[in-house]
């Protein structure tokens, strides 16, 4: 297998981010379509892969960025569900609500990026303790997920959940609390090394005066320090909006964000140099932090469709779970899905700290790997909480017949490798199962159904399926 870093280092900054176009030796194929949808939309059905192969990245990527045109019915239903969930006051239902949206939203890329920003502005309901506030924060993240980062950062600075989470409500004139000021530079905009302790102290003074009353952020001028402050070399009577504006003016901000989004969407195994990211950084800042542009550029680039990116991420639990359901074209108990995501280490709305989830190889250990295998079994057994996610139905709808064809179908669907080395082993297993099931007097229909489930389970538990 080629070393992804070496592959990546071959790219030139001038061409790396240019739009990929198919070549004879580098065709637009199912592997690339599935890769695009895994990264941008949690996963994809066999039918969509086929449609994608018949199309081109220049058509598919803008469509993903735009989402489906008619979202009214989904939005109406979602709002009704959301209000019922908030009335229930049950955080588990709230997690399930988001998973429901990830699974069925007509704009999955927006959800994908909302999840990214949730991890970026990692706010936990464990401290906020108010679903309405968490919902409003999530709505804001969703609104700006593919919009301008500056607007999102401004809104987060005045977001009630964030104010409670990072103690901005205790940041008063004469008694500053530096929590939010520190994180706005370190985690939200600039990254470590691009500010000083003095900048944090001064920014904390500028951020004074905010509180939360009746679920709303309110500004109390009497508790705001209106004196001059010097932040990142700029002096003035700065307030919260100015802190954000000054941070956005720093070249480090675009560098920090581009690197983070690269790691999220492109690859977590390669380390990009500043030199190769420079064209993206420069233009991202010039375009006023237009995240939609940046995401579109990355998803169409040569780098994105190279071996430096394909399969170079470990699926986070939510991607693993939502992606599997989307691929199997089924429906599951999202409440159960939320429980499984918790057990795999990704409890939505409850990130472990202000740093969010570390991700990468931290997602997999001996316990979570076993739980992933168990989850895969649940998805493919045709009954229980994922009973409407039955691989047998998928096989039937796609007209697949025979053991080998069934295994190839799932190898193609899950891994885009119909000739994977495990093909013959899995086929042999199915043949053995067929004899066993027939001897147990199951009808031919039931035998075929059960074999489809076993094939899906075995393919879904291959190590490669943990990668995206």
């Amino acid at each position: 297998m080629p070393d992804p870093q070496r592959q990546f280092d071959r790219f030139d900054p001038e061409t790396a981010w240019q739009a990929y176009y198919p070549l004879g030796t580098n065709p637009w194929n199912a592997e690339k379509v599935a890769h695009l949808y895994r990264r941008a939309a949690f996963g994809v059905s066999a039918k969509t892969v086929k449609e994608g192969v018949d199309s081109s990245p220049s058509v598919v990527v803008p469509r993903l960025l735009r989402g489906a045109r008619d979202r009214r019915q989904f939005d109406d239903e979602y709002r009704a569900l959301r209000e019922e969930v908030i009335r229930s006051g049950d955080p588990k239902q709230f997690k399930a609500l988001w998973l429901h949206r990830m699974l069925y939203s007509p704009h999955p890329l927006q959800e994908r990026m909302t999840l990214f920003w949730h991890n970026h502005f990692a706010t936990s309901n464990a401290k906020v303790g108010n679903l309405r506030m968490m919902q409003r924060q999530q709505d804001a993240l969703r609104k700006h997920a593919l919009g301008h980062f500056g607007e999102m950062l401004q809104e987060m600075t005045r977001d009630p959940a964030m104010i409670l989470w990072l103690d901005s409500n205790t940041n008063k004139k004469g008694k500053p609390n530096e929590n939010y000021a520190r994180e706005v530079f370190e985690l939200f905009s600039l990254g470590v090394g691009n500010y000083t302790e003095k900048d944090i102290q001064e920014a904390a003074r500028a951020l004074t005066g905010w509180d939360v009353r009746n679920g709303q952020a309110v500004f109390n001028p009497a508790e705001h320090d209106a004196g001059n402050k010097t932040i990142l070399g700029r002096t003035g009577p700065w307030a919260a909006g100015d802190v954000v504006r000054i941070a956005l003016e720093q070249p480090a901000c675009a560098r920090f964000l581009v690197r983070k989004i690269f790691r999220e969407l492109v690859s977590e195994t390669v380390e990009p140099s500043d030199r190769i990211l420079k064209p993206l950084v420069t233009e991202y800042q010039l375009r006023n932090y237009d995240t939609g542009w940046l995401v579109g550029r990355l998803l169409r680039s040569w780098v994105f469709y190279s071996s430096a990116a394909i399969g170079q991420k470990i699926k986070p639990p939510v991607d693993f779970l939502v992606g599997t359901v989307r691929m199997l074209e089924g429906r599951v108990s999202v409440r159960h899905l939320a429980d499984v995501a918790d057990s795999l280490g990704q409890s939505l709305f409850y990130p472990p700290s202000v740093n969010g989830w570390d991700g990468g190889s931290d997602w997999i250990n001996s316990t979570t790997l076993l739980r992933r295998q168990n989850a895969m079994f649940e998805f493919t057994r045709g009954t229980g909480p994922a009973g409407r996610c039955d691989p047998a139905g998928l096989v039937r709808r796609n007209g697949v017949r025979g053991d080998e064809a069934t295994v190839r179908f799932f190898l193609e669907l899950f891994l885009q490798q119909p000739r994977h080395e495990s093909l013959s082993r899995i086929v042999a297993h199915l043949q053995q199962s067929r004899r066993r099931l027939r001897a147990q007097l199951y009808t031919d229909t039931a035998v075929e159904q059960q074999l489809a489930r076993e094939a899906a389970h075995l393919v879904g538990t291959l190590p490669e399926y943990q990668l995206m």
């Binding site: 569900l81 006051g89 009954t383 147990q440």
Partner: protein
């Protein structure tokens, strides 16, 4: 590899069960005489096919088939067993499965069962003619053989000839075809016993032509339980043992378990009655034989009666029952072990001491003694909320009305306990509010949840269906999950008093469940149920709404379920009527 246990444990019993469901009227009495008379449970299904044709069953099944849950069941392994049987029947009969099955079971069916090492299953099914049965068995055997790996094919069915009889062994189980009858035993001994009994029956058989018209129509289903045998099972014996160790179980179920203690047979029948069905469960137990101390569970059928059901607006469920806790308390020394007796008597005193701190002077035993034996419960839809908070999902309200022997003493001794309890709850996590109001001369008191914006934003709004309320008035203690239901109960008691309403049966318990109102309650709670179905069941929002509407329609189809229980001349009878004529 084929598992012969599969044949024994699944295929033939399942076949017997399904065939029994369709079994026709003829000769079910004959079948019973082929079964071990002392088996724990005997099931006869003399008119199973007619049950499926009953208007209520037809409507229910038609509705169920439309549900997505039912559709989901079709791909389960359990459903596949039914699919296999259906295919075998169609193949053997050359007709659609229902017709084929009716022919296969035209002569009736019965199954007997006993648990344990010495127990097992014996089943008899009689077809319209011997050929139909032979064809079916041949097809089934061919199918099983075709599924087996080559080396096992020959040994799966073994024909045995013993003492002039010929039968087939499948693993430990065995079956025989005798004329138009299929006899099945989960072991060889049970089959041979059935064959012996068949010989006796044949000798004694008399032509019954013309007799059928004089007999009442057979029930759809008849289940007979050998209560004497049941009492010998270790778990049941433990449950029935007196004096008992579990005071709670005696207080709640003592009278009911006593019915098992006193009769040697329990029988249940499902019979049609116009558009409704009636389930009758009868015990041979008599009131005279009731264990002393437990008579307080049942009216005497003369002077003692239960109170009429409460009929409030939008009533979903109403119950009225008799339970004399004073006599139960007075008879406690006969019912409980010395240790249990000591525990509850000490507990009685401890509770009095604990509540004396908050101004009460109540002994629980005294409170029960002040209560009369007539209890009523009711659940109603409550279309309107008593709170300011938006809560579109409306849960039914529940209420309890207990007649008092001494209203004044109850007010003096027990009500302070409720006041103290309410006070404690106001200091709880929810910081509930105490409230009082007057209604037609009665003092209503209770608790409410805070419904200001700050409290509501942090709470599960389902709580805004509840405002626990109580009142002591008109010789009753009323408690309800809302103030409205307590007021409605007071109105209803006034109405019954004006109209001198009374129950004219010897029943010791009556219940009425209005499924029409329950259907509306499902709709009232629709948004929460939609969410639950969608998030837990994996249905889309549109599907969830469809499923709920289907459920509501199914409930409305049945209309109502009523029950009545009490002693009559033949023993104790529990009647459940499903549907409305």
């Amino acid at each position: 590899m084929i598992d012969t246990r599969l044949c024994r444990r699944f295929i033939l019993p399942a076949l017997a069960g399904v065939l029994a469901l369709f079994a026709a009227d003829r000769a079910s009495g004959d079948h019973r005489s082929l079964l071990p008379p002392d088996d724990l449970v005997i099931v006869e299904v003399p008119r199973g096919s007619e049950l499926l044709d009953h208007p209520l069953a037809t409507r229910l099944l038609a509705g169920l088939e439309k549900s997505s849950q039912w559709q989901g069941l079709k791909s389960t392994p359990q459903f596949d067993r039914l699919r296999l049987i259906r295919r075998l029947i169609e193949k053997a009969s050359g007709e659609d499965w229902k017709t084929g099955l009716r022919k296969l079971t035209a002569g009736g069916a019965a199954v007997a069962f006993s648990p344990g090492k010495t127990g097992g299953v014996t089943a008899v099914i009689a077809a319209a003619d011997a050929k139909a049965l032979q064809r079916f068995i041949a097809v089934a055997q061919r199918h099983v053989r075709s599924r087996l790996p080559e080396p096992q094919r020959s040994g799966v069915y073994r024909t045995v000839r013993k003492a002039g009889r010929e039968y087939t062994k499948v693993g430990e189980a065995a079956f025989a075809l005798v004329g138009n009858r299929l006899l099945f035993g989960s072991n060889e001994r049970r089959l041979l016993d059935a064959l012996k009994r068949l010989d006796l029956v044949k000798r004694e058989e008399r032509p019954q032509r013309g007799a059928k018209a004089d007999r009442p129509p057979a029930p759809y289903l008849r289940v007979s339980v050998n209560a004497a045998g049941l009492r010998k099972l270790p778990d049941v014996a433990k449950l029935l043992k007196l004096p008992a160790r579990e005071a709670g179980a005696v207080a709640l179920l003592g009278g009911w378990t006593d019915l098992l203690r006193n009769g040697n047979r329990l029988a249940a029948e499902l019979v049609p009655d116009g558009n409704s069905l009636e389930l009758r469960v009868r015990s041979a137990a008599t009131r005279a034989a009731t264990t002393p101390g437990l008579t307080g569970f049942f009216t005497d059928g003369k002077r003692e009666t239960i109170a009429p059901l409460l009929q409030l607006p939008n009533t979903i469920y109403a119950a009225s029952w008799y339970r004399d806790y004073r006599s139960l308390w007075n008879g406690r020394s006969k019912l409980l072990t010395a240790k249990s007796l000591k525990t509850i008597e000490e507990g009685d005193e401890t509770i009095r001491k604990q509540f004396s701190v908050i101004g009460g002077k109540m002994l629980p035993s005294r409170a029960f003694s002040l209560m009369g034996p007539r209890f009523r419960a009711v659940a109603v839809r409550q279309p309107k909320s008593e709170y300011r908070v938006d809560q579109p999902s409306r849960l039914p309200a529940g209420g309890l009305a207990i007649e008092l022997r001494d209203e004044s003493a109850f007010r003096d001794e027990v009500v302070p306990f409720f006041r103290g309890l309410s006070l404690i709850l106001t200091f709880g996590e929810q910081k509930m509010l105490l409230y009082k109001s007057k209604y037609k001369g009665a003092d209503l008191a209770g608790l409410r949840f805070r419904d200001d914006a700050a409290s509501a934003s942090q709470a599960d709004h389902i709580r805004y269906n509840f405002a626990p309320t109580y009142a002591v008035t008109r010789g009753h203690f009323f408690a309800g999950s809302s103030a409205t239901i307590v007021r409605q109960m007071i109105d209803e008691i006034d109405r019954q008093s004006r109209e001198r309403a009374a129950v004219r049966t010897t029943a010791t318990e009556m219940q009425r469940l209005s499924l029409t109102e329950a259907a509306q309650a499902v709709r009232d709670f629709g948004s929460t149920l939609t969410l639950a179905l969608s998030f837990n069941g994996g249905l889309s929002v549109a599907e969830s709404k469809r499923e709920l509407e289907l459920l509501a329609k199914l409930l409305a189809t049945v209309g109502e379920i009523t029950t009545e229980a009490g002693f009559d001349k033949r023993g104790f009878l529990y009647r459940v009527r499903i549907g409305k004529n």
